[in-house]
Structures are given as structure tokens and as C-alpha cells.
């Protein structure tokens, strides 16, 4: 025999652990220590059936804990305080005696605690906890119903199995229905309590900025946080440039961004159109990263500049997504005359060695393109190496990089090349963004981390902004960062990606999109085209299932006759419900009706001999039913 209380205790422990798991990292240290202690104490008390913490002291303790955190509630700390109150009430409930009402309170608190965790953490751990919590709470509530009927109920194994088999229908079907409800529940694009939502840890960090000093990007190289995911096809290695910002002004050693000249206008020419969906991780900056060169963005409110920099109207602190149309291999063509002066502006002071180098190349170069080639040859001749340590950091970092240390990070390559371009008279700017990324073939997207932050150069050559990546000229290409997915990481990241895509970023737009898609599919519905040999098989299956259906209906057609008689008799003699235990003949005697008696005799004759009704008998029975109905 199984004691119901023992099972309920187990489910209560499970529910408590599951609701606290996603919250645990956000709780204060003393609370973190108190919760496992309370759970352990609760288990011991339940085993011994002795509860030192009585009802009244427990109520006083709960009230004290409530007021302690309630007084600290503020707009910023609201979720933190409420969550602490919930988990502490749960902990107190764990160590006290558990009546039916207490179990119910425990389950309700567990659900509220899990709900509270959604305002602190959006990770996929929630789904795991939710599924198990639904299982524990629903089965727990079913057992609680039995417990309420009889607190000392003990069940045999077959009884328990039967109850659990039925109880498990609840979570199983609830979770299936959950998917449907999740899709159709009404949403708004402007939630009033948005401030309650979690600001992910990544949001406290900024990505590529509008200001790059030597060493800035190198410091990001150690950051393994995810920058964004880009859903789309696999790209050739030389095209994996994700454009973020454009730095167009030199202030000493530093490249900064100023608004591009107002009359500047560009257009994209050539290239292969490609569409991607970008899922940026929450950040404090507003830059919208896009595959270079981007043509069109859709899905967020943004501002576009002539140098193809897209800035969101609001910081991307919440998870979002946007679609980008790019031209793979396309050229950025300048419309009209260029503001050469703006893009050739050198810093106030230039090292003499750089100035003399620039003068020599400017004199040798017959055109802008030729000067670019000469500079490339110079870079190659210098045998520069890609490195992440012992980097140039002096005031004249470009000179130090090119002539002394000859090792540097991507911004050293780009910054010095950009400077030399300007010095030789070629308009140039730096583009900050990301390069590379790990392609997840399982789910078809690029995972780009902050460590992939990159800077390259754009030079205005023959009316086109030409992308030049001097980092690629390093003599040690093996030292360049490589990004590859392991099989397990690919799987885990794919799950995280789908979680973000299907759940976290699902909004009103997604709902409308789904509706539209369903509408289109309904409108364009076509019967599937079956290959010619499949038709006889399909027709045969259809015929067979129809025959089986008819056979089954034929076999069951006499089953409804006694019920029909009961209904007619009830209606005719204004009787109450007739129990199924009452035989037809008994009923006929009760109402003393010859039609009913004849019906009972004919039906019983067949039923008692265990043979089907003959067609004559069936016809007569139906006729009798009709007469009874008159």
C-alpha cells in the first residue's frame, strides 16, 4: 500500500526545486543558503512527522520576511523583492506541517516563483523547468484531490497506477495545448510594464563603438559573448563581413565617427542579392549590424546614413530581430562628386617616417588604384604579423606598428592603412563590424561572437567605396582567429537559437505573419501530386478504410436499439431516467405497454441466444419504436 501523503511530499519537493532552479543565481546569499536548508529540514520533518515550527510561529516568521522585503520594493527592485518574498514563503511552507491547503499553497507559490524567474532570466532552462513543474503540479493537484477526500488514504499499486495513468493525461495534453495557446494569445507591441522585463547580462556591454583607439578591438578579442546570430545561407569566406559603423575622422591616434557629408549619396551596383535575419544579443548600443554591403533593413525602427550605417531608434536592450537585404560582392557607388577633403583629412600630427613614405607613394602612384596597390605592396614588404599581445600603444602607434614592432591587431592594420591612404590622397574611412562567424549547418545561421569584432578599410577608388582588409596581408595567417563549431556546441547553440527565434522574439508581428502565411497557404492549396503508381494504392487504402468503417457501423447498428426504446418509453410515460440495470422486459411490465413488451421479447430472443437480429426482427423493432414515438 502506498501512502498518498508520501507521494505528495515528493511532488512538493520536486516543484520547489524546479521553481527555484532558474531563480537561484539571482537570490541573495543568505536566501541561497536558507532554501536548501529549509528543503532538507522539510524532508526530515516529513519523515519524522514532527514539525517544530508550529502554525502561529510560522505565520509570524512569514509576515516578518514579507515586511522585510516589502519595505524595500522600488521600481528598480520590484521583481527582486517580490521574488524573494515568494521563495521565502515557499521555504517556510516546506518546513511546516502540510495539510491539503498547505500543499495547494506550496504548488501555487511554486508556479508564482517560476513566473517571477521569467522577469529575471530568459534562458531555455525555463522550458525544462516549466515542463517538469507542470508535470509535478498537475499530478500533485490530482493526488491532492484524493488527499482532500481522505487524508489517510492508502492506495494499492494497481489503484495508484490507474490514478497516475489518468493524472498524467493532464500534463501531457496541457503541454500540447500550451503550444497552441502560446501562438494565439493576444499580444501588444507596446507593453505597459516593459520595465519589469529582464535586461540580460550582455546588455550591460556595448559592441563595436563609434570610436576606435588602438587596442580597443584587441580587448574585445577576448570577449566570447555572442554578438548576434544571422540566419541565412553559408557564405564564401571572403564575404563574411558584417558592417556595423563607419569611422570617418581621425583625431590623433583615434578614429571617430562624425555624420558623413550631407550631400553624399550612394547606391549599390552588381552583386548577388541575399536576405538574412539578424538576431542581435541585447546591448546598450544602437548599431544594427548587417552583411556588407547592406541594401535594406526591415523589422526595427532605425535611421540610415549615407555611409550605410544603420542605427536603431532605441538601444537594443531587449531581444529583437530584423531582416537585412544585402548585395553579396556588390559595389558601393558614389552618386555625384565626393567630398574628398572630408575623407582625406589627416590627423594634426603625422610621424615624419609616415609622411615621407606617403609622399613617395603619392609621387609614384599614377592613380588612386595604383596608389592603393603600392601601399599594399609596402604592407606586404614590411612582413607584418597578426598578434594579440605586445601590441603598439604609443602616441605614434601607426609608425611603431609599421616600422618597429611590425605586429598588431586588426585595428593597427586598418588604422595605419587608412591613415596612409589619406596621406597619399586617396579618400578612406574605417569600417567597424565583425568578420567571420561560426556557421551552424544544423539550423542554417551564423553565430558571431564579440571576439569576431573587426575593422577594415574602405577606399574611394574610381567612384566606388572599395573594401580593403589589410589584416589579410599578415605574414602569419594561421594566427588569425578561426571560428568553428563542435558537433555538441552546434546542437546546443541550435536549441538556444530556436528558443530565441520561436519563443523569446515571438510578437504581434510574428502572429500577423503566421496568419498571412496561413491565408496564403489556404488560398494556394493544391492537392498533393501523387506519382502514377501510387494512385491504385491510395484508392485501395481509401476503399479498404471505407469498407472497414461500414462493417463496424453494421456490427454496432443494433446496440442503440435498447437505448432508443428507453428514450421512447421515458418520453411517452413521462418517467425519470431509466437505469441501465433495468431489463427491457422489466420495463415493459412496469409501464404495462404491449408495444414495449413485444419489443423486449423480440430483442431478448436474439440477445439471449447470442445471435444478431434478423432483418425482419430489426424492421419490426424499428416499426415498434416509431409507434411508441407517436
Amino acid at each position: 500500500m502506498y501512502r498518498l501523503k508520501t507521494l505528495l511530499n515528493l511532488l512538493a519537493y520536486l516543484a520547489s526545486v524546479l521553481c527555484i532552479a532558474p531563480l537561484f543565481p539571482y537570490l541573495e546569499r543568505p536566501v541561497q543558503a536558507f532554501l536548501p536548508a529549509a528543503l532538507l529540514a522539510g524532508i526530515i520533518c516529513d519523515r519524522l512527522d514532527y514539525y517544530p515550527l508550529r502554525r502561529v510561529p510560522a505565520a509570524i516568521l512569514s509576515s516578518c520576511l514579507f515586511f522585510f522585503y516589502a519595505v524595500g520594493i522600488s521600481r528598480e527592485q520590484m521583481v527582486h523583492s517580490v521574488v524573494h518574498i515568494i521563495v521565502l514563503l515557499l521555504a517556510v511552507r516546506l518546513v511546516t506541517e502540510k495539510s491539503s491547503r498547505n500543499y495547494l499553497q506550496l504548488f501555487v507559490l511554486a508556479v508564482f516563483a517560476l513566473a517571477g524567474s521569467t522577469l529575471l532570466d530568459l534562458s531555455a532552462l525555463f522550458l525544462f523547468c516549466l515542463i517538469l513543474l507542470v508535470l509535478a503540479v498537475t499530478v500533485g493537484l490530482v493526488l491532492l484531490t484524493f488527499h482532500s477526500a481522505d487524508a489517510d488514504l492508502r492506495l494499492t499499486l494497481p489503484e495508484l497506477r490507474r490514478i497516475l495513468a489518468t493524472a498524467l493525461v493532464l500534463p501531457a495534453v496541457s503541454l500540447v495545448l500550451m503550444l497552441g495557446f502560446f501562438v494565439i494569445l493576444p499580444r501588444t507591441n507596446h507593453p505597459l510594464w516593459n520595465f519589469l522585463n529582464p535586461t540580460p547580462a550582455a546588455a550591460s556591454t556595448a559592441g563595436i563603438s563609434d570610436r576606435i583607439e588602438p587596442g580597443d578591438v584587441a580587448s574585445m578579442g577576448e570577449n566570447s559573448a555572442i554578438a548576434f546570430r544571422a540566419e541565412g545561407e553559408d557564405l564564401p569566406a571572403e564575404e563574411r563581413y558584417w558592417r556595423g559603423t563607419v569611422l570617418n575622422t581621425m583625431e590623433g591616434n583615434t578614429w571617430v565617427r562624425h555624420e558623413p557629408p550631407t550631400r553624399e549619396k550612394v547606391r549599390l551596383a552588381g552583386g548577388r542579392p541575399i536576405t538574412q535575419t539578424i538576431y542581435p544579443e541585447p546591448k546598450t548600443d544602437r548599431l544594427l549590424v548587417a552583411l556588407d554591403p547592406p541594401e535594406k533593413l526591415d523589422g526595427v525602427r532605425f535611421q540610415a546614413s549615407a555611409d550605410m550605417v544603420h542605427t536603431a531608434r532605441r538601444p537594443l536592450v531587449q531581444r529583437t530581430r530584423y531582416a537585412v537585404d544585402s548585395r553579396l560582392g556588390g559595389k558601393i557607388q558614389l552618386l555625384g562628386a565626393a567630398d574628398r577633403e572630408f575623407y582625406q583629412q589627416p590627423p594634426a600630427s603625422v610621424a615624419p617616417r609616415l609622411r615621407s613614405l606617403a609622399e613617395r607613394i603619392a609621387a609614384e602612384g599614377r592613380s588612386d588604384r595604383h596608389r592603393v596597390d603600392l601601399l599594399r605592396e609596402f604592407f606586404l614588404a614590411q612582413k607584418l604579423a597578426y598578434a594579440t599581445s605586445d601590441l603598439p600603444g604609443s602616441e605614434n602607434s601607426a609608425e611603431e606598428f609599421l616600422f618597429e614592432k611590425k605586429r598588431g591587431y586588426c585595428e593597427h592594420f586598418a588604422s595605419s592603412f587608412g591613415l596612409l591612404l589619406r596621406l597619399v590622397g586617396v579618400p578612406a574611412r574605417l569600417v567597424g563590424g565583425y568578420h567571420g562567424g561560426e556557421y551552424n549547418a544544423l539550423a542554417g545561421y551564423y553565430l558571431v561572437k564579440e571576439s569576431a569584432a573587426h575593422v577594415w578599410v574602405e577606399a574611394l577608388v574610381e567612384g566606388n567605396w572599395m573594401r580593403i582588409d589589410p589584416t589579410g596581408w599578415a605574414q602569419n595567417p594561421e594566427a588569425l582567429p578561426r571560428h568553428e563549431f563542435g558537433a555538441w556546441r552546434q546542437l546546443l547553440d541550435a536549441f538556444d537559437y530556436y528558443w530565441t527565434r520561436a519563443v523569446i522574439t515571438y510578437d504581434l508581428g510574428s502572429q500577423i505573419g503566421l496568419l498571412r502565411q496561413a491565408n496564403f497557404q489556404m488560398r494556394d492549396w493544391r492537392w498533393p501530386r501523387l506519382p502514377a503508381p501510387a494512385w491504385p494504392v491510395f484508392a485501395g487504402l481509401l476503399l479498404l478504410s471505407t469498407l472497414l468503417l461500414l462493417l463496424r457501423r453494421r456490427r454496432n447498428r443494433d446496440r442503440g436499439l435498447p437505448d432508443a426504446l428507453r428514450q421512447r418509453v421515458r418520453a411517452k410515460y413521462a418517467l425519470g431516467p431509466i437505469p441501465l440495470s433495468q431489463g427491457l422486459l422489466e420495463l415493459a411490465i412496469q409501464v404495462d405497454d404491449p408495444l414495449c413488451r413485444e419489443f423486449a421479447e423480440i430483442y431478448n430472443r436474439a440477445a439471449f441466444r447470442d445471435r444478431p437480429l434478423r432483418s425482419v426482427e430489426r424492421r419490426r423493432l424499428r416499426q415498434l419504436l416509431r409507434e411508441l414515438a407517436k
Binding site: T145, P171, P577, Q582
Partner: protein, 274 residues
């Protein structure tokens, strides 16, 4: 709770809260369907004894049958007009039997009344109810009251007298052909002489029949007299004394069988003075 969390989900736009609310809504929908399915497809058969006396405890047997093919029936309470029974679990296509003592008040024939089923399954938030019919009628007999001696004090005195009826304990009344009587009644000597089985027919040992006249029974009111009559019927039949009944101008001849007893009691139960 679902409403509150739903309100929070809409106002925060938090999709994880939406997931939780969706799960709760799904749970509510399934529990509703499961609760309804739990109480459907059940039939109740109530077995009451032949003799039910007014204001006396009577053992009633209730059989709950679950006609569903797959689903069991859990925590089903069968509510009778005078008491209820809880069936914890009845498997699919299975029955469970339980008994309870009921007390029926007031003599007469009447329908047993509505039988209700109720169940809080699967969760104790709502109790579902259904009415299952029980069209059979029950007859509640008047509660027997001990009858005081009347007149010469011999109103209920018993005595023995020979009876014309056939019996097994009286004197030999005649010899007859064998028609399947018990072996001890076969007259072996005579059978051997006549070459066919002969049996002794004995007269039944019986008391003098008693006819109870309701009008002449002691009692302050009708119910009291009916109680006395019921007691006398029981007493006489226990003593193997044929008993009859006079109700106004109607007369029911004395007899001894159990069927006769039930008939007399039913007459008393349904008696309405002219």
C-alpha cells in the same frame, strides 16, 4: 492565478510568462474535459431489501458501473436521498459495490428518488454533478409497534390445530401416489405390496388463523394502529400462524407465505382510510 499571470503577460509582453499562462490555460481545459469524462458513462444500481420499515435503518447496496472503455472513474460520490457513498476508483468497464444504511421516513409506495453523482476529480476546484435515474419504486412499511394484550388477553395467544393443508409434521391424513415427495414420506411397506411407490400425506401442523381487523386494534391514531398491525403480522408469521387482514370492508384471507406477508405489509403501507 491564470488571470493574474495572463494580465502580467500581456502587460510585460514577456513570452515566458505567455508560455506559463498557456500551460495553465491548457491545464484548465484538460481538467474540465477530464472531469466531465470522469462522471460520464456511469450507471448506478441500487439494491434495496424487500422489507423497508418506516424510520428504521435499512442496508442499501449501491453498484457503480463504469461503462467507459478507457477512462476510469475516480472519487465518485453517489448521493442517495438519505446518505452518500464514495467510490475511490472504478476501472474502465468495471463495477464497484458498496453499502450504506439508510433510514426512510413515512410509509407508502414512492419512487426511490433522484440519485446524484458528484466528483471533484481531477482537481478539487470544481465539483461536477450528474443525475442518474432510478425509476423503481420502494414501499416503506409502517414501523411495527408492540401490541398490548386486548380483551381477554388472548388476542395473540397461539394454539395448535390440525390443518387441511399438506405438511410434514402432522398426522397421516391419507396415502397417495408418489409425486416426488421426500424419501422419508415414502410408505415402503405399502409400496412393496402394491408395486408402486406410495407416500404418506401428513397434515400440516398449524396454528389457528388470525384475522387482524385494523379498526379494532388499540391505538390513539391510525399510524399507531398500523404499527400494531405490522407487529402482529410479523409476530404471527414468526409463530407460523396464518394471518389475514381486514381493512374496512376489504378482507384478505389468512395465509402463511412470505409473499403473503409482503402483500399484507404493502396493504398497510398504502392504506388510506375511506
Amino acid at each position: 492565478m491564470t488571470l493574474f499571470l495572463g494580465f502580467a503577460a500581456v502587460n510585460t509582453g514577456n513570452n515566458l510568462l505567455y508560455l506559463l499562462v498557456s500551460a495553465l490555460l491548457g491545464f484548465m481545459a484538460v481538467s474540465g474535459v477530464l472531469g466531465r469524462g470522469n462522471i460520464a458513462g456511469l450507471s448506478v444500481a441500487v439494491e434495496v431489501p424487500d422489507e423497508i420499515y418506516d424510520a428504521r435503518s435499512t442496508l442499501v447496496t449501491v453498484r457503480l458501473h463504469n461503462e467507459k472503455r478507457l477512462l476510469g472513474a475516480f472519487l465518485v460520490r453517489v448521493i442517495l436521498p438519505d446518505g452518500n457513498l464514495l467510490f475511490t476508483a472504478v476501472g474502465p468497464r468495471a463495477s464497484a459495490v458498496a453499502s450504506l444504511t439508510c433510514t426512510f421516513s413515512g410509509r407508502g409506495t414512492r419512487p426511490l428518488g433522484e440519485i446524484q453523482l458528484s466528483s471533484p476529480f481531477p482537481i478539487n476546484f470544481f465539483v461536477r454533478r450528474a443525475t442518474v435515474g432510478e425509476s423503481r419504486a420502494i414501499t416503506v412499511f409502517p414501523a411495527p409497534r408492540r401490541c398490548p394484550p386486548a380483551g381477554n388477553g388472548k388476542a395473540v395467544a397461539s394454539g395448535e390445530a390440525a390443518n387441511d393443508a399438506r405438511g410434514y409434521e402432522g398426522d397421516i391424513s391419507r396415502i397417495a401416489d408418489y409425486r416426488g415427495e421426500p424419501m422419508k414420506l415414502i410408505h415402503w411397506k405399502l409400496s412393496a405390496r402394491q408395486d408402486e411407490l406410495k407416500v404418506r400425506e401428513l397434515s400440516a401442523a398449524a396454528c389457528e388463523p388470525l384475522i387482524i381487523d385494523l379498526a379494532s386494534l388499540p391505538g390513539n391514531h391510525l399510524e399507531e394502529r398500523l404499527g400494531h398491525a405490522a407487529h402482529l403480522i410479523q409476530y404471527c408469521l414468526q409463530k407460523n400462524r396464518p394471518v389475514g387482514l381486514r381493512l374496512g370492508s376489504r378482507m384478505i384471507a389468512p395465509a402463511l407465505s412470505r409473499g403473503h406477508k409482503l402483500r399484507l405489509m404493502t396493504e398497510l403501507a398504502n392504506y388510506v382510510p375511506a
